[in-house]
């Protein structure tokens, strides 16, 4: 095993490839958080009164939580206290006027995205993927808007949605994750600066994958974006998000909120490849990714499916969940979480069964290498009225080396006797015998490890859209490079 450990150490020498900083003028608020700052954010965005009120309610609630030191401590992660008054809550690339087209976007920013492999110029786009790019706190460009508008799909930045579709924002904002939900969601509700908004009207199958690319650039800022996706009756949408950040010595806070609403017979598929800067080999720096994601399968026969590949962040605290309210509604959660070096992840899902014959599937694959600590935390709750509910949970952990850890906390709460629950769990070590077997067939050690890991994650990767699956596999190999010697 010692040779495998050495290999792990070698592989982790791989540097984070997305760690460059873009030098642009930024417009940022001074550090600190109070009502004035909240009002200033709303004013910068020219928000209507209902938004200002909502933000202030959230802020007051958050301030009371902070006074009580009510920041959640139950997660299996360790980090020094965050000084919320030292952060700046708004940073935007400076721009003089409103953008009319992509040509007006700062070339430095476009260059950043092309370095990341996200060409924003529409002609260069992968056919069938519309992209919204969020740079620090604001959305800089949304592509394919016109084509989507033809079928009635609204895909825009959250700010635009507040301006142009206030009735939709008013109706759905906070309807899945209320501003009182939890410490970080409350903070987000007070200070979120932008994000993506999607509305797919009745009976429309969104003609292309929608995608948002998040980039934190500025120093000493938090990123607080908010995504709201609504699929009306019979609508169908697949949404992808990707994230990266520059290498910085200090930790940066990312506290996002995602809300999904699926009406009768609607389907929302939400895929994430999260690659925030994970910190260096000694665990210095990296993003704190404290994110609340929840979907409400509101209508009958509706479906919400989460797929996530989490390879970045110093700390991940994230539980994409489904509230299965409509009868026959379906919730899915497919997850690969990798922790290497000193990364920590506490991630999983909640499946709340309310409607009759609701069905949920949870497949979680945790990989720990280096000194990484990986925790699966999942809750399946069957309420009294959820007759005929079914859940299948599979939760596997893979350990690489002997300094990492895997932890599993499954919670099951059943209040209806007709429910059927299945739970499978396994923990295994990547075996020197497996690696040797592949090597003996001519496959190099690095490829052998990557092949074994990909095999382990297969059930999740097959849920990702094709291009994303390829990217996820590459990312996983890079994140593990050097982790097996």
């Amino acid at each position: 095993m010692s040779s495998t450990v050495n290999q792990i150490n070698d592989l982790t020498q791989q540097e984070y490839k997305w760690g460059f900083v873009t030098s642009i003028d930024e417009d940022r608020l001074p550090p600190g958080l109070n009502e004035e700052i909240v009002r200033a954010i709303a004013a910068k965005k020219g928000e209507p009164e209902f938004m200002v009120e909502w933000r202030l309610k959230a802020y007051r609630h958050w301030a009371s939580l902070e006074q009580k030191h009510a920041e959640p401590t139950w997660a299996n992660v360790k980090y020094p206290p965050i000084d919320y008054q030292a952060l700046s809550y708004y940073s935007a690339p400076k721009q003089k006027k409103e953008l009319k087209s992509l040509d007006e976007v700062d070339p430095e920013i476009l260059d950043t995205y092309s370095k990341l492999g996200i060409p924003l110029h529409e002609q260069k786009l992968l056919a069938g993927v519309a992209v919204d790019a969020v740079f620090d706190s604001v959305s800089v460009a949304t592509t394919f808007k016109a084509k989507l508008a033809e079928v009635g799909v609204i895909f825009c930045s959250f700010s635009e949605a507040v301006k142009n579709h206030p009735e939709l924002v008013k109706k759905y904002l906070g309807s899945v994750v209320p501003y009182t939900d939890n410490f970080f969601a409350t903070l987000n509700s007070a200070v979120f600066s932008d994000g993506s908004f999607v509305y797919v009207p009745k009976g429309v199958r969104c003609p292309m994958e929608l995608s948002t690319y998040f980039r934190i650039n500025a120093q000493n800022t938090g990123q607080f974006e908010r995504t709201l996706i609504i699929a009306d009756e019979g609508a169908h949408v697949s949404y992808l998000e990707g994230c990266t950040a520059p290498i910085r010595d200090e930790n940066q806070l990312h506290a996002a909120v995602v809300e999904l609403i699926a009406h009768d017979n609607a389907t929302i598929k939400y895929s994430t490849v999260q690659n925030w800067y994970p910190g260096d080999k000694e665990g210095k720096g990296g993003i704190y990714n404290f994110v609340t994601k929840r979907g409400k399968a509101l209508g009958k026969n509706s479906k919400i499916s989460w797929t996530q590949v989490e390879t970045g962040s110093a700390i991940t605290w994230k539980y994409p969940s489904c509230i299965l309210q409509g009868d026959n509604s379906v919730g899915e959660f497919y997850s690969v979480a990798l922790t290497n070096n000193y990364q920590q992840a506490d991630t999983g899902t909640k499946m709340i069964h309310i409607g009759k014959n609701t069905k949920s599937t949870v497949v979680s694959k945790g990989i720990s290498a280096g000194h990484g600590q990986n925790t699966y935390r999942g809750m399946v709750k069957i309420l009294k009225g959820a007759t005929g509910a079914r859940n299948y949970t599979q939760c596997d952990s893979l350990l690489i080396g002997d300094k990492c850890g895997a932890h599993t906390f499954p919670y099951i709460e059943v209040k209806n006797a007709s429910a059927r629950m299945e739970h499978e769990a396994s923990t295994s070590k990547i075996g020197e015998d497996q690696i040797f077997y592949l090597q003996q067939r001519g496959i190099s050690k690095e490829e052998a490890v990557s092949m074994i890991i990909n095999g382990f994650c297969k059930a999740v990767f097959k849920e990702l859209p094709m291009e994303f699956a390829v990217e996820a596999q590459k990312l996983l190999s890079i994140s593990l490079e050097g982790s097996v010697g």
């Binding site: 592949l438 003996q440 067939r441 001519g442 092949m451 382990f456």
Partner: protein, 254 residues
């Protein structure tokens, strides 16, 4: 020129010396059988040939096809044409047999400067070899060795050997855990691969395998040394008398 030349090989596992001076020469096209009681060092010899790191070579030399085998990583030895059929083939969940074997073949082809083979050309080749070993096509898409019976795993090893076409095949206890029908199928596959160039080293405890794969030479390994070598008739003698009769000679050599 000999294909494999082992000279005064010493090897240890966890500091315990297991091989205490092995000499063996294998010429192209020859089939050698290494027999011996449990714990004599047969499997250690096979693992050392396959370049497993946990087996430390403490002395001697191994030349494979004119090159120093002890300088090679396991994957390089494989690419140079050395194949080992494992005694206990491991499972690789989530990776299909077909995908794995094509990756292996292409790694070897790449090493040799040949073009990689695409799935369209590869599948017919794999199916043909599977038919030879009487393996159902459903094994194509099943994860490597996962849920295979002992016999299926061993047949799968020989399928891999048939696809990779090594210069030297080391079969480590390939007969263990096989019933007689499966043994015949495996032997048929192995025999079909015998030719003037390809050499084999069969590591086995029992003579039974040698009824079906008749070796050119038989060597008896006891306590880390080859104590007796001969033709196929030596295996029959061992079957009748057991291994103990070779031991006085061993004592004599000390």
């Amino acid at each position: 020129m000999s294909l494999l030349e082992i000279k005064n090989l010493h090897a240890s596992v966890n500091g315990n010396e297991i091989l205490k001076g092995i000499d063996l020469t294998v010429n192209p096209g020859e089939v050698h059988s290494i027999m011996g009681p449990n714990g004599s060092g047969k499997s250690t010899l096979a693992q050392v040939l396959a370049r497993r790191e946990s087996y430390e070579v403490t002395g001697g030399s191994i030349t494979f096809d004119g090159k120093d085998l002890l300088e090679m990583k396991p994957e390089d030895a494989a690419c140079e044409g050395l194949f080992m059929a494992f005694q206990y083939p491991v499972e690789i969940p989530g990776i299909s047999n077909a995908y794995f074997l094509r990756a292996a073949l292409n790694a070897i082809r790449k090493y040799r400067g040949q073009d990689e083979m695409d799935a369209m050309d590869f599948l017919p080749l794999l199916k043909e070899k599977m038919r030879m070993l009487e393996m159902d096509e459903r094994f194509l898409n099943r994860p490597v060795n996962e849920g295979f019976s002992g016999g299926e795993k061993k047949r799968n090893e020989i399928v891999q050997m048939a696809v990779l076409e090594p210069k030297l095949a080391v079969l480590d206890e390939t007969d263990s855990g096989l019933d007689i029908d499966a043994l015949k199928i495996v032997a048929k596959g192995v025999n079909a691969m015998r030719d003037k160039k390809r050499s084999m080293v069969l590591v086995t405890h029992y003579q039974r395998l040698l009824d079906y794969i008749v070796p050119d030479f038989v060597h008896v390994l006891v306590n880390g040394r080859i104590v007796k070598s001969g033709g196929p008739e030596l295996a029959l003698e061992l079957e009748q008398k057991g291994y103990s009769w070779t031991e006085p000679e061993l004592v004599g050599k000390r």
